[in-house]
Subunit: 301 residues, 4 copies
């Protein structure tokens, strides 16, 4: 029996790159948190402390900022592809690279209906996600791209039921035909093509997710999530799979009867913990294997 090195990766996490474009008086801005991880044979570093195959994480930091200039930053998927391919193609010991990106959206300030050229307010709503994985070189090169979002907090004040569930001796929940349903959605999706208008795809997927949450009369959060994933796949042929993780942000009806007050689903306590947590994948039955598409580095995607 011997003790051996197993799977490993290393990189620079959470580079906070802000990129403006100022070729004209009307500036543009992109604001991201990017992490890069390199995979390959780094056993000498682990076993002997020999760094000769190790490109420093400091270099990866420099590269993240330099590529925001050299390659531009007009969509996080393209930027991530450029970075991942660079490491695999240009740095000899690197056999695979994983780039994970969070993007924070800004909205242009409007003054009397006119958009300001160079001032923005952070939108603050959901965080956009992307992850790019590239493995191998030349003809053997394979690429996986996922998009996503997190922290999209969405709520409906009716149109949600929960009853008919399995019971056991520990079950005390009262069935309901009308409840508040709310979640802080995490959704990621695997693109089966690289020939995608990333900006339009992101906006479109978000729109389908939100719209479906609103439109589906819900018998369970599970049912709503499946419909959300299904409708994304129906709308976008270049998406192979959608993964959803949805905490059930409980809104408990507050017992006001003790004070002689009726509470017809009007006053709730929004509780923190514990919370229900539903996770599901929705995919095409002919979807290509996900491979390392969802093998996370920092937990972003």
């Amino acid at each position: 029996m011997a003790i051996v090195l197993g799977p490993n990766q290393y990189g620079k996490a959470e580079n906070r790159v802000v990129r403006t474009q100022r070729d004209t008086p009307r500036h543009e801005i992109r604001d991201i948190n990017v992490s890069s991880a390199l995979r390959g044979d780094f056993s000498a570093a682990h076993l002997e402390g020999d760094q000769s195959a190790v490109l420093p994480t400091d270099t990866q930091k420099n590269t993240a900022y330099a590529y925001a200039k050299e390659q531009g930053l007009t969509s996080i998927e393209d930027y991530g592809l450029a970075l991942a391919r660079h490491y695999v193609d240009d740095v000899e010991p690197v056999q695979g690279a994983r780039i994970e990106i969070e993007e924070f959206a800004w909205e242009r300030v409007s003054i009397d209906g006119v958009e300001h050229d160079h001032t923005w307010v952070r939108r603050g709503q959901e965080v956009r996600l992307a992850a790019v994985t590239v493995e191998g070189t030349a003809d053997a090169q394979q690429t996986w791209v996922t998009g996503g979002l997190k922290d999209l907090v969405i709520l409906k004040s009716t149109g949600s039921e929960f009853h008919g569930f399995l019971t056991d001796p520990y079950t005390t929940l009262v069935p309901t035909t009308d409840r508040v349903m709310a979640t802080s959605l995490v959704a990621t999706w695997h693109y089966s093509s690289l020939d995608v208008d990333w900006e339009a795809a992101y906006a479109g997927v978000k729109n389908v997710l939100v719209r479906t949450f609103a439109e589906v009369h819900s018998l369970a959060l599970q049912q709503t999530l499946f419909q959300m994933g299904k409708r994304v796949l129906e709308a976008y042929g270049f998406i192979a799979e959608v993964r959803l993780s949805a905490p059930n942000k409980h809104h408990f009806l507050y017992d006001l009867g003790r004070f002689g007050l009726e509470n017809a689903n009007e006053v709730f306590h929004a509780d923190d913990r514990p919370y229900g947590l539903i996770q599901a994948s929705v995919l095409r039955d002919d979807a290509p294997a996900a491979g390392p598409a969802w093998d996370a580095y920092t937990g972003l995607v």
Copy 2:
């Protein structure tokens, strides 16, 4: 020499009250985090453990939820006034009450341009604040109301200079005539009247703050903040004082010259810590004394 009890207060912090209105198919929602603190002679509780003058914090929790039904929750200032007056007027040992509220805004989901009746997405931008303090009863009763906001992240990519500053042997900063200026603004303001349309006032003040940040060509964050406060006071005669606390969220130009790349204010590192922190009050020279308007309980306001 004796050891004595000094100023004290107690209450229930961070009640997460969500209130819907569902009288018609088009529902409404308000989502708040409310804290109540009571002030008065509670020395028996401290000195002898005698609770006979102490209304439990659990009761304050119940009251926060009950008042969302009884009094409604159509503006946080009115709701806060109702709660504060209740404690001072109805609970004998209470001589003063402080209500602090954070409000989280939701925006209605739109489907094909039509607003949905009962589904919303958390806006996620700034958090609205209010604090109400009531002291004394009947003719001796005094009331202070402050409004505010926090977490409003705003940035301009040009139109900001910083030079001509004082130097000493520890000064290494390079003057600049063009930099990114960004902050996560906290602003609070003291209403000198209670006869205010709170919703309109909040929207208006936020608009003035954002607009002024955009419009003022900045020679220093201090200068921008003073103008922001000044224009709020000019626009709203019923506001006596504005207090601003603004972290300078540094965006450092990344040195790309090392890689043969020009960086003409295009690529920045958004740093976390440390950060400059500027705080200032702007007020009318005939402003009434602020009294306990800003004597915080939970640090919300």
Copy 3:
């Protein structure tokens, strides 16, 4: 082509269970955050909103608290095993269960060298982790247990070098033979046996990890991590694999030469982001397959 439901699980996350033992005047306390996830054929809930196979997450909450009484809570691994087996053995539709636990340690208050019977201070150092996965019933039942820790912040002020690394056009890092090395360690390990003294094993593994970090003269964080994992495996035959995730918490030497001051590795800026992030597995070459041991539900392990 059809759209189908892929892998899914659901449960109640972050139940904050505190269990005291008070059979004698000297009380004991265990303080945990426990999440349970159920796996099985829940397609009816997703596809049709039919809950008849779904044990509510509310029931899982009740069960977490009830089992702290019924089964006791003397080690998180045994408690997790009892919960996981209960779901798989007693709830018919459940084919697999995953229990993830964080434990917060308390230390007894000492007064004049005498330990107090019923007062503790939260230790506050690392958080202990465990995850139990059970699949199948009767003879086909399989069980995986991992232990772990997170948030163990450890630093050495010398005995760490970093040089001889690969360079490319983006490399600007200066090699060093003496630097501060610090991390906030996450380590998890897979037990190949269930016949383990869990409390002793945890204390022992933590001790080996800390001791090895101190004793190894480091040429790279990678090398230190491999040694940490290797020595755990050498010391504990019932551990098959160790996984380590270590952010390099950078301590940058502050340039005091600008002020005529020498800085011989004495004054550092502890930076927040970005950070190097090294991840590695160390295992026996005859280790059993990890199976779902590390298939996380909440990201705890």
Copy 4:
């Protein structure tokens, strides 16, 4: 009526200074988060954007690191005093300076009972606090120093009652003669002398606070807090006032009777929000005026 500038201050917040001493093989380490604020007539900066009186916050950052070398960092109070006096004495426009410090404690790693020379684990328990305010120069100079701690989580599993409280129509709380009492203590104290052994004083005050929490049979958190403050004042003649802020971290008895289980104060749900929050000052009746001792800049103290 004119609009004028009110009270203002500015500085550099949250400088993360780490200072090692390595004169001998046995190193020492101090790890702090320090903020400095300057007060004076900075109206030209606010009103006209004229920075000629403004020492940049970047300079304050440099100074914080430089002083960790020049003045050393053997106690945060002495380091804070040196910084504050420097700004007031050496920088002409500065009339007052406020230095706020958080300190994170490290404990030396022990290997087989022998302390390691240069490896530590972050203790992780409470955060130590200090704030220094200096106003005026030469004979007119006044100085205030407060010490403190935060995040000290302490719990007793019995020895706490709560009954006999005031009731009103919203009161539903059940009185109890035996409950868990827990808090995450914030305590700050005002030193009436500068001739203090700061390290011994801090350790002593913490010890009195913890011991008193344990020893007092509690009829209310208020009563416990008053005793904690009183005993600190009795023990340390050079402390004039103690301020305590204590969230009541509720541990709710879980209703296990529904499952046929007895719960004799053994199984609790540790709730997050809302929480009771008790704040009180305990002082000598001849205490000097606190002046600006507690006028916070960053909310640290």
